[in-house]
């Protein structure tokens, strides 16, 4: 396996600044550096919102029985952004929420690093919980991001959310 065939999908085409601007406008972006949740939360601030729910998906030190050393996420950025925008639009139709942002990180990640972040602000609490969970599930099901886990005791593997 050559590293070169994947290297383009380990980084985003835009700058981080452009990615945050996209997240603010469309509610979705890929990033290839540490996700700044402070910055994302600030984008969701709204005095009319009494509820803010956020989810962070972090790289665990194990998956099933295997000990994970690190992993790499690869993304198809242009499709991810188009699909992510539609997911956020649909979330705003389905739930009584004010703002929502989801970010997926790509590239090489270490244990504990945040791979996906979802934040939702709403007037009341239940729609924020419901929408955050739905956005996360939908991102995991639909966004073209792939994951390769590296273990200490066996070859790396391509993972799949579909089992």
């Amino acid at each position: 396996m050559s590293a070169n065939v994947h290297s383009k999908s380990m980084t985003i085409k835009r700058s981080a600044e452009q990615a945050y601007a996209l997240a603010e406008r469309d509610g979705f972006a890929l990033l290839d550096i540490v996700i700044d949740d402070r910055r994302l939360k600030a984008l969701l601030d709204d005095d009319s919102c009494g509820a803010f729910v956020s989810f962070e998906g972090r790289v665990r030190n194990h998956n099933n029985a295997s000990s994970v050393e690190r992993l790499t996420y690869y993304g198809y950025e242009d499709l991810a952004i188009n699909q992510g925008r539609q997911i956020i639009e649909e979330a705003k139709r389905k739930f009584a929420i004010t703002h929502a942002i989801a970010i997926h990180r790509i590239g090489a990640l270490d244990i504990g690093d945040v791979a996906v972040w979802v934040g939702v602000a709403s007037a009341h609490r239940y729609p924020a919980f419901d929408a955050c969970r739905w956005i996360l599930d939908t991102v995991k099901a639909e966004i073209p991001v792939w994951k390769q886990e590296y273990y200490d005791n066996q070859p790396s593997k391509w993972l799949s959310n579909n089992g």
């Binding site: 065939v5 690869y74 499709l79 791979a115 991102v139 073209p144």
Partner: protein, 95 residues
């Protein structure tokens, strides 16, 4: 319909040029992240995938894959046109 070289003229011989991107395990098998292929104008997405599977030894059934045209998810029954970007999407693993 065999895959022809890129420099074939699509206007005169009823073929179209398609740009295919590869990700994850398909990129491993194809040993590239992108290639331009020339196929007959009437080629369906399923036929395109079959041809590329034969060429690169892909093991996924099309039933396991999604397909995207020009950076949007598409139906397997959608037609492709000259200059389209096509991507076959293996099961994703985000989150």
């Amino acid at each position: 319909m065999p895959i022809a070289a890129k420099d074939t003229d699509p206007v005169t011989d009823n073929t179209i040029n398609i740009n295919v991107l590869y990700f994850a395990s398909l990129a491993d098998k194809a040993n590239c992240n992108e290639e331009s292929v020339t196929v007959s104008q009437s080629t369906s997405l399923t036929q395109l995938y079959e041809q590329l599977s034969e060429k690169h030894g892909f093991s996924h059934s099309p039933l396991e894959l999604k397909v995207a045209i020009n950076d949007y998810f598409a139906q397997w029954t959608d037609s492709i046109e000259n200059g389209d970007n096509v991507v076959f999407i293996t099961p994703v693993a985000g989150g």
